[in-house]
Symmetry: C2
Subunit: 276 residues, 2 copies
């Protein structure tokens, strides 16, 4: 940890998957009680809440704002028809983000339908390009989130911040930027250089930690401070690159899901102060 | 798979950990019976065999040659004393490789003793630099093997071929090169560019496969053809970069370890022809 100060408490946002067992209504109320002012809903929870308009009312009534919606993407597919269906689903995700007042739709790119990573990466570029006008008209930004290389085969063929930056360069739209999640990028020797390169287009910043040994690829993320990620170093790098917005805590962890929400939020607030 | 031909059968080498339950003597005899001409012993098995001289006799008596010794490295440590001890252990590994007639010692760099990846990466560079004269005098090459980023916290802070190439550039010694293991680098959008950049210094090439979903981070590697890696594309890229030496099959997989050696070697030979 460096000598830098803790981030402002009002920047803390709960990514809803951190309390995955709770409905949007329950998670919003828990945030409000804890004094957390932001939430990032997942689309399945928005649907469970009765759709985007109902979800927007729930969040608003709890006095919260929406930092992002998770998630669009999953562009590569084996057939043109299936790729078209995915684009349509992304349009619905943009509509939901707009209805929720979310400035950002987080994009998880998707995996290759076969062994050809190069072709799949082109499908991602094509898919985002097609969404740009639609997103732009609705005031929703598209955030390309690189996922850790261990997800290259099943969740995302965009695996480094360099790739996300290359893609954002290529798409060259004010509606397209990148999302930096420490769990996915912490290991990268180029991470600080690529964060600097992303200046002005970092649309989201997600924190958690990398526990050693890793309990599980998907559900083994740790609470900030329980692992090896230099969180404050990355947070200050992201701030130097112009990001001063919400800091989302996104922890996929079965043990945390099984714990009482109030305890989890208390621990998150403490670790946010101490470690982020 | 491309239309390129299968690699020459005489290039197939068994990395000994693929038959981890067998002694060096048993593994060597199994290779000889199967018509496999190369083996890459691990140091624990060399020790179990009575040391490098005894191990060399076992391999020679079986009519095999040694493609590499696994493994040196693990340079970063919290204290100067411990780092010194690791260097000494690497000198012993070089001695063993020389005694075994191995042209190559594979280096797995090691993890950071704390959260500071940058400092740990410097310790790796310093450690290899210190070994170069010793290795050079004994005719043993040092192969920097980047490990998949999911091992950044516990096994290696060298996680991309770009990093390994940068390190080899910096050390600028004919005794230092890189080892390309498809399991660790397949996901990397820069992998083909970095293989080309490594022309003339690719000292080893390891094959296995990435199964979806990944059964286990450490022990979930697949038999070639059971996963998503474009093996032939990577093999031909490595050949274009000048590597025509042994192709080591290195599969860490509990199920394979529990299978009869003869079956495993037969499957490896078939998949080597079909998929590598």
């Amino acid at each position: 940890m460096t000598g830098d100060a803790a981030p402002a408490p009002e920047r803390l946002s709960l990514n809803q998957i951190t309390l995955n067992r709770l409905s949007l209504s329950q998670a919003s109320e828990a945030c409000a009680r804890a004094g957390i002012g932001w939430i990032a809903p997942w689309r399945d929870k928005v649907a469970d809440a009765g759709g985007a308009q109902a979800a927007a009312k729930i969040v608003r009534d709890a006095g919260l704002r929406v930092s992002s919606v998770c998630r669009g993407g999953f562009f590569p597919a084996a057939t043109a028809e299936e790729r078209r269906a995915r684009i349509e689903d992304n349009r619905r995700a943009i509509d939901e983000a707009a209805a929720l007042g979310a400035p950002l739709l987080v994009l998880v790119s998707g995996a290759a339908p076969d062994r050809d990573l190069t072709a799949a990466r082109e499908m991602v570029a094509d898919g985002i390009a097609e969404l740009v006008p639609y997103a732009s008209q609705r005031g929703v930004h598209l955030g390309i989130e690189p996922l850790h290389p261990m997800f290259a085969a099943d969740r995302s063929v965009i695996n480094t911040l360099a790739q996300a930056n290359d893609l954002a360069d290529r798409l060259a739209s004010p509606s397209v930027g990148v999302v930096v999640d420490v769990y996915h990028v912490w290991w990268d020797p180029q991470v600080e250089a690529e964060i600097a390169r992303a200046a002005g287009r970092i649309l989201g910043f997600h924190v958690s930690d990398w526990i050693v040994p890793l309990p599980d690829v998907l559900l083994g993320r740790g609470l900030m401070g329980d692992g090896v990620i230099e969180l404050r170093r990355l947070r200050t790098a992201v701030e130097r690159a112009g990001h001063g917005g919400p800091i989302e805590v996104e922890i996929l962890n079965q043990h945390i899901w099984d714990s009482p929400a109030r305890e989890v939020l208390g621990a998150i607030q403490a670790r946010y102060r101490e470690c982020v």
